[in-house]
């Protein structure tokens, strides 16, 4: 039975379909078989009992910690009483009117030498959604260029072009950000926005806070989380190796077959064998300025994995590069040692020069950059001499297994960063600003390793 057929005729079924759409935009991966299960489930419970409906839909649709937490919030927001729905509809209407006003206002505000700019409705909406400060910056640009020396009306197309470019970039940022792209369903969009605005992503909310914004009060909890994530990943990887070793076993069935001609005496043994090699990791961590918090977390996480990697080399860099593998290998308390190392590395000052750091890595530690090494660079990409750094990376990427870049800048800001554009082509670059990101990226890394 197709989903559409199953849903037809029952408004409850249709409602479930729309609700699944909402879940999907929140990143809950509900497959079509599961949607069928959800609709079939409704036949087996008392539909007027909201808690029963919630439980069976959850059992059919939300199958991990994150999905369950999102499901709970989304369900409560989606299936509301008629009164609550009416309140929300009014709020939407008011919001719509406010936006229309803001768009009209943008026509008045975005002017070049008294002329209104030609912009699409979409771009005007984007402008209306910007913060006061961002709007101000745009207006300032317009008023300054309006009065520029030798600037006349013929500049209008160029100015329009620039403003459109800016708005387009912001528009994409907004789409990827908390609001996300529209599903084309007002109520669903509403719920998606509300869930995203709340803690909303499942698990401990701290998992989704930018590491640099974690407050001192929350740090102990963050450390517990970090330890737990590292332990979980280590167990997962460890199991893979153990299993691989256990693979060197006599395969009796093949042995019996092979030895039929020897009268059953197992002369030639047959083995089933698999091989997995532990990865070798080279960490290169930017510790300049605000980066040290990230570096500390990522180092701690990596040392949580020390048991399951063959070799772990760690380097800190800012203006220059320093090898810290020894100190960390012998440390009784990795967390404390990292703290001390970062403390002493402050003397290096604030500038970041990746090119200098990489050159030293090449010159003095070439022995670690072997063909099976996985290089992890942790940095916000904001470095001096970016072109040179990119060239060195390009060369290095041909010698090592892979270079993975953990970028602490949220991906939504990448389009505006020329350093990202310069470096990204030579590495695998992943967003890594929260504990959840860190967990995801390292898991991925261990999987390629």
């Amino acid at each position: 039975m197709s989903i559409r057929r199953a849903a037809r005729g029952t408004s409850a079924g249709r409602n479930v379909l729309r609700f699944v759409g909402t879940l999907r935009s929140l990143g809950v991966p509900a497959g079509s078989g599961e949607v069928l299960d959800a609709m079939a489930a409704l036949h087996h419970v008392n539909m007027r009992d909201r808690s029963q409906v919630k439980l069976v839909l959850s059992a059919a649709l939300a199958k991990d910690e994150r999905s369950r937490s999102i499901f709970d919030q989304a369900f409560d927001l989606y299936f509301v009483s008629a009164e609550q729905a009416a309140v929300r509809a009014r709020a939407r209407e008011a919001e719509g009117q406010a936006r229309a006003r803001r768009i009209a206002q943008s026509e008045a505000e975005l002017r070049f030498q008294g002329q209104s700019l030609e912009l699409s409705g979409e771009h005007r909406e984007t402008y209306a959604q910007l913060s006061q400060a961002q709007q101000e910056r745009l207006r300032e640009f317009l008023s300054r260029s309006s009065g520029g020396h030798g600037v006349d009306a013929s500049f209008l197309p160029l100015i329009e072009h620039i403003v459109r470019g800016h708005l387009e970039r912001w528009r994409q940022g907004i789409e990827n950000g908390p609001g996300g792209p529209s599903t084309g369903d007002e109520i669903a969009d509403d719920v998606v926005r509300m869930v995203r605005a709340g803690s909303g992503s499942g698990g401990d909310p701290l998992l989704y806070v930018d590491i640099k914004d974690i407050s001192e009060a929350d740090m102990p909890r963050a450390r517990v989380l970090l330890r737990r994530l590292a332990k979980r990943l280590a167990t997962r990887v460890m199991r893979r190796y153990r299993r691989a070793r256990a693979g060197d076993r006599v395969d009796f069935r093949r042995t019996v077959r092979a030895n039929l001609r020897y009268g059953g005496v197992p002369v030639e043994l047959r083995f089933s064998r698999r091989k997995v090699l532990k990865p070798k990791i080279v960490l290169v961590c930017d510790v300049s300025g605000s980066m040290s918090r990230y570096a500390s977390f990522i180092l701690q996480f990596s040392y949580g994995l020390a048991k399951v990697v063959r070799d772990l080399e760690a380097f800190l860099f800012a203006e220059d590069l320093e090898r810290v593998s020894e100190q960390l290998r012998d440390a009784a308390d990795v967390e404390l040692t990292i703290g001390r190392l970062l403390e002493s590395s402050r003397v290096w000052g604030k500038g970041t020069n990746l090119a200098v750091a990489l050159r030293r890595l090449n010159a003095e530690h070439r022995q670690v950059l072997t063909g099976d090494a996985l290089v992890l660079v942790v940095s916000d990409t904001k470095t001096l001499a970016v072109t040179e750094a990119a060239a060195i990376l390009a060369e290095m990427s041909r010698r090592v297994r892979d270079i993975v870049w953990l970028n602490t800048v949220p991906a939504s800001e990448w389009p505006g960063l020329p350093t990202v554009a310069a470096l990204a082509p030579h590495v695998r670059m992943y967003e890594c600003s929260t504990l959840a990101d860190l967990d995801r990226v390292l898991r991925l890394t261990m999987d390629i390793a």
Partner: protein, 311 residues
């Protein structure tokens, strides 16, 4: 399967499994839709028990596949009894050497080929849990316990099996299930299961019970526990699980062990010394134990037992 929710609820209760709708409904749904039930949750929250209760309640045979690292099809599905096979080969050699006729060999047949066909027949087949579940004459409950312990390859194989409940044995042909078994899979989430397997299942997450429910579980499973003692044990469990940052949280099984010990020792109200003396029944990790002893040294059992301890 044609069962009623109310009936299931009564039967679970009668069998001593204390739970709410959040557990019953997914179980019920899985039975109704004829889908495998995947249960996740911390160790000792009663995942395995659900399958056992279900088998008893349905009056069905429980067939259990205990998963572990390195579990393969030989141990899970079927295996050839190679010891008997080897004996058989040697036997036929000896007979041939003595000039006697090889067993079952016709005049013009190739004896080698005949022997091989013979060796891979039902007689030498060892059925493992999965094949037993498929061949079972009545609908069994198949428990695939701790499925997160197997590797991806085996998981993929399981997924296939759970899709059509038939296997092909190269030497014997295709075997199809007489009855689709009631399947329960459990996992401690040590490894994320594949999306494919999850999609096929109805999902149940079992959380630690709240204090009231744990009181009831203790009273049902440890007869002779007073209301007060059960209250104290349950309150301590809540404190240990939510207020302390332990390496391993105590499970329901530990609560039951503790209650049994306290009853056996004739303790009616848990004092500081009782708590210290019996702590190793509740917490197994050394760091956790010393954390608990520090807690008792600093606050007595006040915080541990919560408001129930106040006179």
């Amino acid at each position: 399967m044609d069962i009623e929710l109310g009936w299931l609820r009564t039967e679970f209760e009668r069998d001593g499994y204390i739970c709410g709708m959040e557990v019953l409904l997914p179980v019920y749904l899985a039975l109704r839709l004829g889908k495998p039930l995947l249960i996740e949750g911390a160790p000792g929250v009663g995942k395995t028990e659900v399958a056992k209760v279900l088998a008893r309640v349905l009056g069905a045979e429980l067939i259990r596949l205990q998963c572990y690292e390195g579990l393969d099809e030989n141990k899970a599905l079927y295996e050839w009894n190679y010891q008997r096979q080897l004996l058989r080969i040697q036997l036929s050699r000896s007979i041939a050497a003595a000039g006697g006729p090889a067993a079952g060999v016709g005049a013009d047949a190739d004896p080698e080929l005949e022997l091989e066909r013979d060796l891979f027949s039902h007689e030498y087949l060892l059925m493992r849990p999965l094949l037993r579940a498929i061949r079972s004459p009545e609908r069994p409950v198949l428990l695939v316990d701790e499925v997160d312990k197997v590797d991806e390859a085996f998981e993929a194989f399981l997924f296939e099996l759970l899709s059509d409940f038939q296997v092909s044995i190269p030497e014997l042909g295709t075997v199809t299930a007489n009855h689709v078994p009631v399947v329960v899979l459990t996992s401690n989430s040590e490894r994320d299961l594949s999306d494919g397997l999850k999609r096929r299942c109805i999902y149940l997450y079992i959380d630690f019970p709240d204090v009231d429910r744990e009181v009831r579980i203790i009273q049902v499973k440890v007869p002779g526990t007073s209301e007060l003692l059960a209250q104290q044990v349950a309150a301590a469990m809540r404190f240990l699980r939510t207020e302390m940052d332990l390496r391993k949280k105590p499970s329901i099984a530990e609560a039951l062990d503790w209650a049994r010990a306290l009853v056996a020792l004739g303790i009616e109200r848990i004092g500081e010394k009782d708590a210290s003396d019996t702590a190793s029944l509740v917490l197994k990790n050394r760091d956790d134990l010393s954390a608990l002893r520090r807690e008792i040294a600093a606050h007595g059992v006040q915080r541990l037992l919560g408001r129930q301890d106040q006179p």
